[in-house]
Symmetry: C2
Subunit: 335 residues, 2 copies
């Protein structure tokens, strides 16, 4: 755990200062790593790859299938559905503002958007490709991708590394600024209702912001244990502890039930909730968090106030053009 | 069969005159039926519905999943994949220029885009909704759809009829004019290569245009028998006759193996070919058609010329904005 935490802290981006309990507006641009500066050509290529179902074995599942940018950046399902109707145990996290996550995946096993983008493509229950070599063979067979990679990276540069760089560059454009909360933080005190302000104060008072801090309200360190407190009733209903989080990857007892702290941005749009999508409504998610993480039972009014505040975290979604995916005239590789 | 043919002829649209062997450019607008005039509000609503996976039981399959407008209007698969990874026996026809089809579905069982749009939503292996009543309940629960239906049809108008009208209105905007072929027909003799002109002349000479006539190269009457001629070798390889076409619906022997004449527009982008998607390449599709429909075996050069011509039927795809789908804040109905 320590090693991963240090790695994450080593990735901390210049200009991103998170102080617990300080309310901060969302930046309108996401910082890019030194080895993958954002360019228009990479973003255009990345948007095509992100939306292309031919990156899956069946030709039916794109990144966008489960992380739908026409919706809240995910699929509103408890568990996503990959190739051939398969489902896993986790709920798709939103891609909106994922650029501001300290770590990626629910268990935080990827340190960057680039690392994350490589995973689902070859996951047998997600996009089901046998290998990235197979993906690269496909992409190389498509003239439009030859051209788009050339524009983004130079001639003859189709590779796993560049494909994931392009997808990450595109994802860094998926930012939703100027929510009512941001307007309020930026000085427009009329942007939040009295109820939303009460919810905001309650969130600070209860200690939610201990983890959900910073402009993306997803903390500074990346990880937190969930659930901290549990009880038989909650567990029987939601089965939170079935998934060991980071320990599923590291196999270390100290990492058991540690998960990425998810952003609260656009949280109203991403039901159902938690790593396993077991909680159907935002109101129930608020109650569960207060109980498991803070040991507090909230009144119905407190839940309503916090819910109203969380609804104020829905930002403005950038208008996107629908990409035209490069064709393979006269043939197909989806046999 | 006769009755259906008369029905179709009764639907012939004013101003659409098809004469076999006359080369005609594609209109830039599709005529709308009198009871569903195209409006911007209907198109906007229709685009949302068309792209919304919440019109399927699992929340994973939209119209656009199988009829992908980022590609050639379909999924490049032999058979599409519906909810829970299910597949059927037919290949998704392209939605591009479907507005110019005389009948819809491979078996032509729907007389209009409106009728067609109702089908897949409640087909158990496609979008899997139990009923349109269930769809309407979902749509009514989404505030953004209440507003979009109100803008398109008036207050309190969410219904199967209006949903399919909106989808059809959107589909009437999916037209791909100004292909090299259209430029040529409109007088720019440099728009086609010498090989493409040879292919065009061969298509006329062989008689392909007996069925593939008119601006969309999909005939006047809607239906044709396929295959007309077959042989053991072809059938063993492609299994064309397993599907009885229109007779699967009407149960009449006279309708056996009658299918909608598909448009040749953008045919290069819609591999694999035929009602069952059994032919992987355009070149093989050309050979098969000459053998089965015209009893002719083509030379390799003839196939190349015709393929070059068919590639000239790829039109200009209108730029589309990616719609923002209306959310259901704080909850989801995909349990």
């Amino acid at each position: 755990m320590l090693k991963i935490r240090m790695l994450i802290s080593g990735l901390a981006l210049a200009g991103s200062v998170s102080v617990a309990c300080a309310w901060e507006a969302l930046p309108t641009k996401a910082p890019a790593p030194a080895d993958n500066p954002t360019t228009a050509e990479k973003v255009a290529l990345g948007q095509m790859l992100y939306n292309d179902p031919r990156l899956s074995s069946t030709g039916t599942v794109a990144c966008a299938s489960c992380h739908n940018t026409m919706l809240g950046g995910e699929d509103n399902r408890p568990n996503s559905m990959g190739v051939n109707g398969q489902t896993g145990g986790r709920s798709a996290p939103t891609v909106w503002n994922a650029a501001f996550n300290k770590v990626q995946f629910w268990d935080g096993r990827a340190a960057s958007l680039e690392d994350q983008a490589a995973g689902p493509v070859t996951n047998p229950i997600e996009m089901g490709m046998k290998s990235w070599d197979d993906v690269v063979v496909r992409l190389k067979s498509i003239k439009g991708y030859q051209e788009a990679f050339e524009a983004a990276f130079g001639a003859g540069t189709i590779s796993k590394e560049n494909a994931t760089k392009a997808i990450a560059a595109y994802e860094r454009t998926l930012i939703t600024p100027n929510s009512p909360y941001d307007q309020y933080v930026n000085g427009d005190k009329s942007a939040l209702s009295a109820q939303q302000v009460r919810g905001m104060e309650k969130v600070a008072e209860l200690g939610c912001v201990h983890c959900h801090s910073g402009p993306a309200l997803n903390g500074d360190g990346g990880f937190q244990k969930f659930p901290i407190n549990s009880n038989g009733g909650l567990e029987a209903k939601y089965h939170f502890q079935k998934d060991k989080g980071l320990a599923e990857v590291t196999k270390k007892p100290a990492d058991e039930h540690f998960f990425k702290i998810p952003t609260l941005r656009n949280i109203a749009l991403t039901a159902p909730y938690f790593h396993n999508g077991s909680v159907a409504t935002l109101d129930d998610a608020i109650k569960v968090m207060a109980l498991t993480q803070l040991g507090k039972e909230l009144s119905a009014e407190e839940v309503k106030d916090i819910s109203a505040f969380l609804n104020a975290l829905t930002g403005e979604f950038p208008k996107q053009a629908m990409p035209a995916l490069p064709p393979t005239p006269g043939l197909t590789f989806n046999k």
